[in-house]
Each structure stands twice: as C-alpha cells, then as structure tokens.
C-alpha cells in the first residue's frame, strides 16, 4: 500500500510524455554537437542553428538554472517529467530514468536507476555525467540540494493543479531542451482537445457521484484521492463529483460504512491492475447495496493516466468523461 | 508386628527400576500387612524415593511385580492405581492458590470423572479427611498462607480422601518443626490403627522410625539390606555398612523404644 501511494506521488510529480494519440509532434533527433534550437519547422526537421545566448530558467523551488545550451544528456527521476520530455521531442536525450518511468516504451531504453524509495542513487547519477536532472514534487528540497551541492544541475517541478499549469510545465521543459516550437504545438493541440470536451460537457446537468479507488489493500477501507489532487480536478471537470473531496486529506481511506452512506453512482477501479474487478468489489461485505454495484457502473481504469501529471492527463479527462457521460460520445 | 493370617495387602516382588543406564533399585521384595507401618530408611540416593515413584506409577519398573490385594498393578491406568495407592509427598510443590478444601477435594480426582464435579460421597469423604487431620477449621484458607505443618496435614488429608488401602509417605517430617513432626507421626499411627491402612513410610530420622514403624526396611545402593523389627534392623553393623558411621544402641528407659546414637 505504501508502495502504491509513493508511486502515485512520484507519477503525479512528473510530467508525462505525450501519448501516441497526439497528432503533431514526432521525436526530434538533435545532433550531438550541442546545438541550440531557436526555430524548428512545424513538420519536424532536425537541426537548429547554434545560438550563443544561454538558457536561464527558475525552477519551482526558486532555484535559477543556467544552461549554456539546451540540455543533451538528461536524467529524469519522475515519470511525469519523462513523459513531458518525450512529448516535446527530446526523449532521445534521456540517458537515465527511475524505474517507474515506463511510458512511452522508448523510455525503457534509458538506464534504470531504481525506485528512488531508498533515496536518490547519487553515485549512479554522477557516473552518467548528465547535464540536467529532472525531478518532481515528491523529492524533498533537501534531497535536491544534495545533488546541487555535488555540482549537478537539477530542475524541480511542482505538480500542476490545473491544465494551464500543465501547459507551463511542458513549455518550461521545452525551454531547457530548446524545443519550444514543438512544445507550443503540443500545448495548443492539448488545449484544443480540452476546449472541445469542455464544450461537449457544457450542458450536462446530471452529475454522478464518483468513487475513484486507488488501492484496496484493506478492502474494507480503500484509498481514494481527495480534493487538491489532479484526479479530483479531472473528475470534477468531467462533470462528476469526486467522492474523496468530502474527506480530509489528499490520499484518504474511506470506510465501507461511509461508502454505503454516500452511495456513489460510479466506481473507477484504478487498482484493476492488481486483480480488483467488478466481481471482487461486489463480493465485499455490504458493498452489494451500493448503487454503483447494483447498476453495474464499475469500470477498470489505468492508474497511470491520471496519476502521472503529464500530457496524458488530457487522455484521462477524455476517458473519465466518456465513462461518466457515454451518451455524449455516441457517434 | 501385626500378623493376622491374611495375605499382605502390599506385596513387592523382586522389583527393579532404572533411570536410563543407572540402576536405581534392584530386586526389592517386601510386604506390608494390613494395619502395619513399614518404615523405609537408608541414606540419600539409596532408592527410597525411587521405590515410592515406582509403586505410585510415576516410574516404570524394569523387572518384578507389585501386588495390591493380590492384584498386579503394573497394568493399571493412573486412575485405577490412584484408587489403590495414595501418596503423601513432601510439602514442596503446591498449588498455593488453592484453598485447603479445594486441595483435599483433588484427592478424589480418581473418582470425579473428567469434569471434576464432586458428588455427595466425595464431599463427605473430604469433610471426614479434613476432620481427621484437624484441618477442617482451615477449609477456606489458601495453601500458601498456612504453616508448613498444616500444609503437610492437608496433604495427608488429601491422601486419606483418596480412600486407598495403601498409603505411601515420602519423608513427611522433613522441613517441619519438631512439634509438628511429632504430631504428624502420632496422627499417622492413629489413622493406621483406626482405618486399617497399610503404610510404607520413607523416613530420615532413625529414632523417629523406631517409635513409629512396626517394621523397618533398610535400603542401600538400591537394594534391600535388612528388614525386620527396629531392634533387628537398627544394629551397629547395619548402620555402619549403610551409613558409614559408628553408632551405639540402647532402649529408652521411659518409652521402651529402640534408639541409636552416633559414637564418633
């Protein structure tokens, strides 16, 4: 259980790489001769012209990062940042990653630096000689400072609270890698999808109560995200009511009794990967009376979609909306 | 010595037993008549306690037989044996939290059945036993709170409640004050006469044995060295061989009992 919470936190912190369903961007191959990208044509041609101006960026811890040129050897220790890196076309520069950075598949080629739960593997990182390390919100400032004290360049990124912040997160990584143009396209296409969905949902007035189950190690008291999480944000935006919002805390346990009292209309099983199914849920003591169980509104849900705060959050928005309001999507 | 033509109640024939490889008692034969007290003496390690353990079923004999009322007891279950032989141990390992009455009631274990529910007969016997041993006024007191002498009497009461023809006592006067020692032995004599019990009593003090037992059996190195009246057994020669000390004997002018005293 602890494992899962940690994983989710890690994922939330890293910005994701855009998934295959995004139309425009293709991975950019930049020549190792350290070129700075200024203008990149829309339909993806490698090569940018060298510019002498250094890159200066302030990370979310307030630390100023100065790069002489776009980063070429990048380590990402959070899945969200891995996904964002790939989405802006700089994925081939990834030389090391944490073991939870599994999307996209290409990321698996980079060196696996382990799970980060026992601390950041500083020696392995030094051995890879990166010029930039991307770290997400899960890492404490002290841990980041340790890396900086060793002369490493570390960019720390906070989780986004909404889509606008997500766009900023993507764009700032693009600045660090000199791929701003690709990023702008990525962001605008994401924004288009979101606006389209917002419009579709505008007239919806039946808002179902949604229980998003993160973890059921203790099936009588499962874990669910509370208010302030991106999951809650997406569910609410998709015209659903996140049950966890009524509870205190970000990752909270809810008792079977409370669930019976609240009687959610829909259950999203983000722990379906661990063998939880509609049948096993219905078999839990007392749960057979819950509305979602009675009406069969139980859906498996990919936990990484909404738990890794990267471009795939938009996929998540679309998926949740389709589950909650299927009538809007019948074509 | 009380001989009345009837066969002895307790008959021990060529009894041997060992602890592993060590031979504890070898080829012991002796009888106890009804209404008789046989004193069992000998130095420590001679086999007195072992003999009592074998007789009471705690230790298995390696050879020989034991007959009570002419019946072989080696095949008896613990319950059956407990209805034929009762033991009065030394007052050492006691369930201190029990009351005197509860402790004496445990003497009826062999009659009580698995649940331990006493019938009227059981309670009657218990009351009688406590009265005989003068512990009835202590009935509700906890064992751990009464004196050593009283504790020993309670154990005697428990054995009496067991209602057996044969009674074994294992050095009952050890650890007791002189007054209690004397009283206990007087009590035993009285009960034996009154109830017609057959008693085998291991003892330490040779003069006390002389005053209490009808016959004396001397054990040394696991074997029976002598058996007979106190005068016959407590001789200079026997004591020298068994205890390795020199003694002299005399007859007490007032009690007429055969006494010994060391001359070293």
């Amino acid at each position: 259980m602890k494992k899962t919470i940690l994983l989710i936190n890690l994922l939330i912190v890293v910005v994701m790489v855009l998934s295959a369903c995004s139309p425009a961007a293709q991975p950019v191959t930049v020549e190792p001769a350290a070129v700075e990208a200024t203008e990149v044509p829309v339909d993806v041609e490698p090569v940018a012209e060298p510019t002498p101006a250094p890159i200066a960026v302030t990370d979310d811890l307030g630390f100023e990062i100065i790069l002489a040129e776009p980063a070429q050897k990048i380590i990402s220790i959070s899945p969200s940042l891995t996904e964002i890196l790939y989405s802006v076309g700089a994925g081939d520069r990834l030389i090391g990653r944490d073991s939870n950075s599994m999307y996209p598949e290409e990321a698996l080629a980079a060196a696996d630096l382990g799970g980060m739960w026992d601390g950041i593997p500083v020696e392995d990182i030094l051995a890879l000689e990166p010029d930039l390390i991307l770290a997400g919100e899960i890492f404490a400032p002290e841990a980041i400072q340790e890396l900086r004290d060793l002369g490493l360049v570390v960019y720390w990124q906070k989780n986004p609270a909404d889509f606008e912040m997500l766009y900023e997160n993507i764009l700032v990584i693009a600045v660090l890698t000199g791929t701003e143009d690709i990023a702008e396209n990525v962001v605008s296409s994401l924004d288009e999808r979101i606006s389209a969905l917002d419009m579709k949902l505008a007239d919806v007035d039946l808002i179902p109560l949604v229980f998003y189950e993160l973890d059921a190690s203790d099936p009588a008291n499962p874990y669910t995200p509370g208010a302030g999480t991106f999951i809650s944000f997406v569910i609410n935006r998709a015209k659903g009511q996140n049950l966890g919002d009524g509870l205190e805390g970000t990752w909270v346990q809810v008792s079977s009794e409370a669930l019976l009292a609240q009687n959610p209309d829909t259950i999203l099983l983000a722990d379906a990967l661990y063998g939880i199914s509609a049948e096993s849920v219905a078999a839990r003591a007392g749960w057979s009376e819950i509305k979602a169980v009675v009406e069969g509104e139980i859906y498996p849900f990919d936990p990484f979609i909404l738990s890794v705060p990267g471009p795939r959050l938009v996929d998540g928005y679309e998926q949740v909306a389709e589950i909650l309001h299927p009538e809007l999507f019948e074509e | 010595m009380k001989q009345n033509g009837n066969p002895p109640i307790l008959q021990i024939r060529s009894l041997s037993a060992n602890y592993g490889d060590v031979i504890a008692i070898k080829d012991i034969s002796l009888d106890v008549q009804q209404g008789e007290i046989v004193g069992l003496i000998g130095p420590n390690g001679a086999g007195k306690s072992t003999l009592i353990k074998v007789l009471s079923g705690v230790l298995k004999a390696s050879a020989g037989e034991v007959l009570i009322n002419q019946k072989e007891v080696s095949t008896y279950s613990p319950g059956q044996r407990a209805r034929t032989i009762a033991v009065v141990p030394q007052a050492r390992q006691l369930g201190g939290a029990f009351s005197v009455e509860q402790a004496v009631l445990l003497g009826r274990t062999a009659y009580l059945g698995f649940l331990g529910k006493p019938a009227r007969e059981d309670l009657r016997k218990v009351a009688w036993a406590m009265k005989q041993t003068a512990v009835d006024f202590l009935a509700d007191r906890k064992l751990a709170e009464i004196s050593g002498g009283e504790q020993q009497r309670v154990l005697l009461a428990r054995a009496l409640a067991q209602d057996t023809p044969v009674l074994l006592l294992d050095e009952p006067t050890n650890h007791l004050d002189l007054k209690y020692q004397v009283n206990l032995l007087k009590l035993v004599k009285k009960l034996v006469k009154q109830e017609g019990l057959s008693v085998l009593m291991a003892m330490h003090d040779l003069n006390q044995v002389s005053g209490t037992a009808d016959r004396v059996a001397l054990l040394a190195n696991g074997q029976l060295k002598a058996i007979g009246s106190p005068e016959e057994v407590l001789t200079q020669e026997n004591i020298l061989q068994a205890y390795q000390i020199e003694i002299d004997t005399f007859t007490h002018p007032k009690t007429n009992k055969h006494m010994i005293f060391p001359t070293e």
Binding site: - | A82, F98, F114, G116
Partner: protein, 336 residues
C-alpha cells in the same frame, strides 16, 4: 461483585458488544441500532424511519465484525489461561510461546497457494501452531519439567523465526496475495460473515474443549508427578490441552492476525479477582477476553478516526499498565 463472577462478566460482555455495534464511521442513533437489530428476530416488527444503508451497515459490516472480535478475544484469553495452567508458568501466552506466530505462518502458507480456498486457512493455522508448540516444548524441556525461563526463551526464538518466515513470504509474493495477507499484520478489519462461517467450527470446538479442561488443569497445578499419583492420565491430558489451545489460537489468528497481550493479561486479571480455580478461570477468561478485545477494538477505531490503529497496539498499551496496577493491589494476596 466477588460472588457473582459470571453475572458481572456477562453484563460487561453485553455492554461491550452493544457498544461495538453502535459505533462506527457513520453515526447511527442508538435507538435505531436496537430497533434494526431486534427486527431481525422473528418476533419483532418495530417501526422507525432510517435509510436502507443503516441496515446494511449494521448487519453486513458491524455485527459480523463485532462477533469476530469477540470470538478472537475469547479464544486468545482462553488459550492463554490454558497454557499458563499447563506449563504452570505465569508468562505463558499464545504469542510469547510462539504458537500464535506459528499459526500465522501456517495461515500465510495456505494463502500463498492460489488454489487453496479460504476454508483451508484455519487448518493451515492449526498445523502451524501445533508444529510450533511441539518444537518449543521439545526445546524447553529440562528433564521432566518445562521451566519458566527456557519456555519463554524457546517461545520467543521460535516465534521470531516463524514471524520472519512469514514476513519473508509476504515480501516475495505478488500483489494479489499481498492484499489478502495484509490483515495478518494485526488488523481486525476483515469484514463480512464469511470469516465467521469459516472459523466458527474451530472457535466453538476449541473453546468448548478448553472449558472442559478446567478440572484437569487444577490437578496439574501440583506438578505432573502428584497429578499422576492422584490418578490423572497426565500425558493424555497434556496432549488434549495442547491440541485444544492450539486449535483455539489458530482460529483467532486465521482472520485477525497476531494480537498480543490478551492471552497474558486477561487470565491474570481474572485470577486476581476470582482466584485460580481453572474450572472457573477458563470460562471467565474466555468471556473476559471477548470484553477486552471488544474495548480495544473500539478504541482502535475511534481514537484516530477516520483512520484506525492496529488493534495489537491498543492491546499492548492498555494491557500493560492495567496489569501492573492490578499486580500492585494484589501483592499481598497469593494468586499463583
């Protein structure tokens, strides 16, 4: 109070039971609690207005949970009292002598076999507990007796070993089984009637056998030698008690995990107030164990609501000081 132990204990048990049912994450007015419960009986049709989920909560969640907690506490205290009597050792307790941990290992082994159904869990626990007590007994025996020190040493050693094996098995298992096993870490949040249906035969048989052993345990208090001389078939009785106590412990551990202190403290408290006669001590400990675990479970649920503490922490926290207090009071009286 001293003269009517069963009356007092039954009243306390009833109160604890009702309290446990009345409390939970969702507030249900006590009046409704009583009405809903009584309506389940054929003679009652009480009127009242409440949402349907009140009934689900009470009947499907709280009632089976309360029953399981009661049975678990009863089993632990009963086997604790029996082990104390059997080994004539005031520190004997199913956890300290390793039986509970061994039962836990047995349960985990069964759970790690996917084909084995939940019905086999108590059997695994029983075999585990029995195996452990056999090993501990062998190790601790010195000549004919089982001294205090060696028993606890052997129990702690074997208990630690089996606990370590259990943890190891859990670590190398995959997620699904991990979930199934998570409750074994001392939580009684397993819900529903299924665990009760599975474990009830073991609970009832075990507890009944222990109650019947009261007289034999009394006789054993004078030592095995005297017990034999008094006519008790000592070896048979020892085996009988060991099997019964292991069975009872296994039932408790199967679905509630390893909970310490109940088996140690409850018999002592009963003993201090009502004496050491095992014919009374065993049944009173059984009932007292139910009360104690119910109260501990209630505290575990409400102290840090909506989170809950593992009940084992609560039993240790309230058990230890309470025992010390009673011990001070009763120092004058002999209770052992």
């Amino acid at each position: 109070m001293k003269n009517r132990p069963f009356l007092v204990i039954f009243i306390l048990l009833g109160l604890s039971f009702l309290l446990s049912i009345a409390l939970g994450a969702v507030t249900i007015p006590p009046g409704n609690v009583l009405k809903i419960l009584l309506n389940k009986l054929p003679w009652f049709e009480l009127e009242g207005i409440w949402p349907a989920y009140f009934e689900t909560i009470l009947w499907d969640l709280r009632l089976p949970h309360t029953i399981l907690v009661t049975l678990t506490g009863a089993a632990l205290a009963g086997s604790g009292a029996s082990f104390q009597g059997l080994f004539r050792n005031p520190l004997a307790d199913p956890y300290l002598i390793g039986v509970a941990s061994g039962a836990g290992l047995g349960a985990i082994v069964v759970m790690s076999i996917p084909q084995a159904g939940r019905y086999l869990i108590p059997i695994g626990a029983f075999l585990g507990g029995l195996g452990t007590i056999a090993v501990v007994y062998r190790l601790a025996k010195v000549g004919k007796i089982v001294p205090l020190t060696t028993l606890i040493l052997a129990g702690v050693a074997i208990g630690s070993f089996t606990s370590a094996l259990t943890s190891f098995l859990m670590l190398i298992s995959d997620e699904m089984i991990l979930q199934a096993m998570s409750f074994l870490l001392g939580g009684s949040t397993v819900t529903g009637w299924e665990p009760i249906a599975i474990a009830l035969p073991y609970f009832s048989v075990g507890i009944l056998l222990l109650v019947l052993s009261g007289h034999s345990l009394n006789v054993l208090q004078f030592g095995e030698e005297q017990a034999l001389q008094l006519g008790l078939s000592v070896e048979r009785v020892k085996i009988f008690i060991i099997i019964s106590a292991s069975l009872t412990t296994a039932a408790a551990v199967s679905f509630s995990g390893v909970i310490g202190f109940i088996g140690l403290v409850v018999p002592h408290i009963i003993r201090l107030v009502w004496g050491g006669d095992y014919k009374k001590l065993i049944p009173l400990s059984i009932l007292g164990g139910g009360i104690t675990l119910l109260i501990s479970d209630i505290l575990a649920r409400i102290v840090m609501a909506p989170s809950y503490l593992p009940v084992g922490i609560v039993t240790a926290l309230i058990g230890a000081p309470f025992f010390l207090w009673i011990l001070r009071r009763a120092k004058k009286e002999v209770f052992w």
